[in-house]
Symmetry: C2
Subunit: 374 residues, 2 copies
């Protein structure tokens, strides 16, 4: 069915759009956020069953709308190994709705980067709810409290978690989003390392105040431009940089990757030896699900969170997520300026270098501006 709730200019997602969003979201995932491919297959199947997905503009969401994010929590490597079922997000949503005694009117991605860009599209197809063209990060981050909704004071609970077997956990009156992150993370680990979530319920007014706008459009535009450049023998990487206001940081070959699953996160270090113009140089990138900091052989920082550090295949701009990093890959490392909402003092306290254990590292923003409101 087509949703009755869609007002203003709605954009209906088809398979071609889904392919483009997958590609763009993979790049904006900065190495993490989960591989959107499996989510895409699930959503594509729903489209082929005749389901529809409407994306509405942020400015068209009514102030009194009841909005929430739905998506997956856990280390990306788990969601590659344990295939998407699609029930867990909807179960989490329905659990949240039952608890608050109201139906949600709009869905919004918590993060446009990675798999959580496509999961709300699947739930939209299942429910007929519209998805808002916006998100809470403009990229991907590993922890729940790292979205703009939490950063700017939307209460983090009630929040629901669900696993594919229908088991649910619901949290309420949790003091702050970092505490919710701890509680939800340990339950997610017990649920096998991955769970569907629905949180936080918020008004349309709050959403419009705090969301990073037009990021579904941005992901789509990136994917579209990359596919066009590949087909027309253009420069896919150059297209990404043009759309995102980013810069090339490094061109190299992957020579080492250290990875471990710690506390439900994929943590590690990837080392690249320069090729072509960067021959003789070395780049080291630390990640926690997502890429956090890129340093050269002298320890000089080339880019650091919240700016986006994206690893893509050198010729095709295909995103290289942390779980598929392997020896010998030839890649480009791109630096993309973070959305302005992630650069305020409140935001840097939550998503700046210090929040990831780089306490002595100042945030020196990359030049340029994130492509908001593309």
């Amino acid at each position: 069915m087509r949703s009755e709730r869609v007002v203003g200019e709605a954009w209906w997602i088809d398979e071609a759009a889904l392919d483009r969003i997958e590609l763009g979201a993979g790049i904006l995932g900065t190495g993490g956020g989960g591989n959107p491919y499996l989510g895409k297959l699930w959503v594509r199947e729903l489209l082929r069953q005749g389901k529809t997905i409407a994306v509405v503009r942020l400015q068209d969401v009514p102030d009194d709308a009841l909005v929430t994010s739905v998506g997956g929590m856990g280390a990306p490597v788990i969601s590659v190994e344990r295939l998407i079922q699609g029930h867990e997000y909807l179960t989490a949503l329905r659990t949240l709705e039952a608890h608050i005694g109201r139906r949600v009117t709009h869905l919004v991605p918590g993060e446009i980067g990675g798999a959580n860009s496509t999961r709300p599209l699947g739930v939209a197809a299942q429910t007929g709810l519209p998805v808002v063209d916006a998100d809470g990060m403009g990229r991907a981050f590993p922890e729940l409290q790292m979205d703009t909704f939490s950063i700017y004071g939307v209460p983090p609970t009630p929040a629901a978690l669900a696993d594919p077997r229908g088991q649910v956990a619901l949290f309420d009156r949790i003091a702050d989003p970092t505490t919710l992150e701890r509680y939800a993370r340990v339950v997610t680990i017990q649920m096998g390392g991955a769970a569907g979530y629905a949180f936080p319920p918020m008004s349309g007014a709050d959403l419009k105040r705090y969301a990073v706008p037009a990021t579904m459009t941005l992901a789509h535009a990136i994917g579209d431009a990359v596919l066009a450049a590949r087909a027309g023998h253009g420069d896919p990487v150059g297209e990404v940089l043009r759309l995102c206001g980013g810069q090339r940081l490094f061109r190299g070959k992957l020579v080492d990757v250290q990875r471990r699953l710690v506390g439900g996160f994929a943590r590690g270090v990837v080392t690249l030896d320069g090729i072509d113009g960067d021959a003789g140089r070395r780049l080291v990138i630390d990640f926690q699900n997502e890429n956090l900091i890129a340093r050269d052989e002298a320890g000089q920082i080339l880019a650091v969170v919240p700016d986006l550090i994206c690893i893509v295949a050198a010729e095709t701009a295909e995103p290289v997520t942390t779980e598929i990093l392997r020896y010998g890959l030839r890649v480009e490392v791109l630096g993309i300026p973070a959305p302005e909402l992630l650069k305020t003092p409140e935001a840097l306290a939550v998503v700046g270098p210090g929040a990831f254990g780089y306490g002595d590292t100042p945030y020196l923003p990359l030049p340029g501006r994130y492509a908001e409101g593309l």
Copy 2:
């Protein structure tokens, strides 16, 4: 207010009864279950405020009653260090009720041993709900799935956890009680190592089928007899054994205790050197919150779970819980036969030696019978 829901012969708890229940529950706690003293102070304060507590007989609970357990989850040592607030149990109860959309009509202790004997009395005082004279263990056990309700198939969820700050977690449609135990345990640890719980909601019919009957009466009778024996220069330890059908296992002096907090549990080993008639012998007791297995110097088992291994002060029968074990204490170790509901094959799979990691140890029941229906 006096509850309107009390039918049949009700017993009104006063301060004297509370003192006796505290003492008896401490002994039945088999070293764990948390020290009931702090819970008693909380309940006594509620009584002094004019609140009342009715205890009703198991057979008087209507089949269509909605019953649940309320109490505390966590390592006993935490509840000694972080004083009882009393809000967390009621918050858990109200969260459970809101989720199922019905008010509970009766409370039942999940375990008569230790602090979870007095916590339902406090919630009864707060709410006016009657407490059923029964419990789910006839003793104390460290894990959620180890009560007779879970063992005999009452669904473990919905289940609510709450901390003193009002933060809540609710679990639903959890596949089995052991899974709930894992989920609730990790959240309890995140809540600071102790949380209030309310679960499982069950009918009066199920309660009457699966509960160990008259254990509040038993705890009271033990406490009453011990106090009388102390006052009259009688034999307090002998009174406990007479009421519980138990036997003396060992009389000794505590020479070593090893203790560590692992996964939210107090685990350890206590070593006793024999005195008086046991001089020259040695006893070693393993515990996980509760005492699990008592072995002599040759490794011969004197008693093992689910039978009760109770350490009490040699002259006064004052219970010695695992968190107050210390060098030099002169104690009696008592062996008390487990309730029949804990001796079936279904029960032994959950609370027998194998469930605690003693896979090669058969359960050889102590002679005699637990004082059910005293």
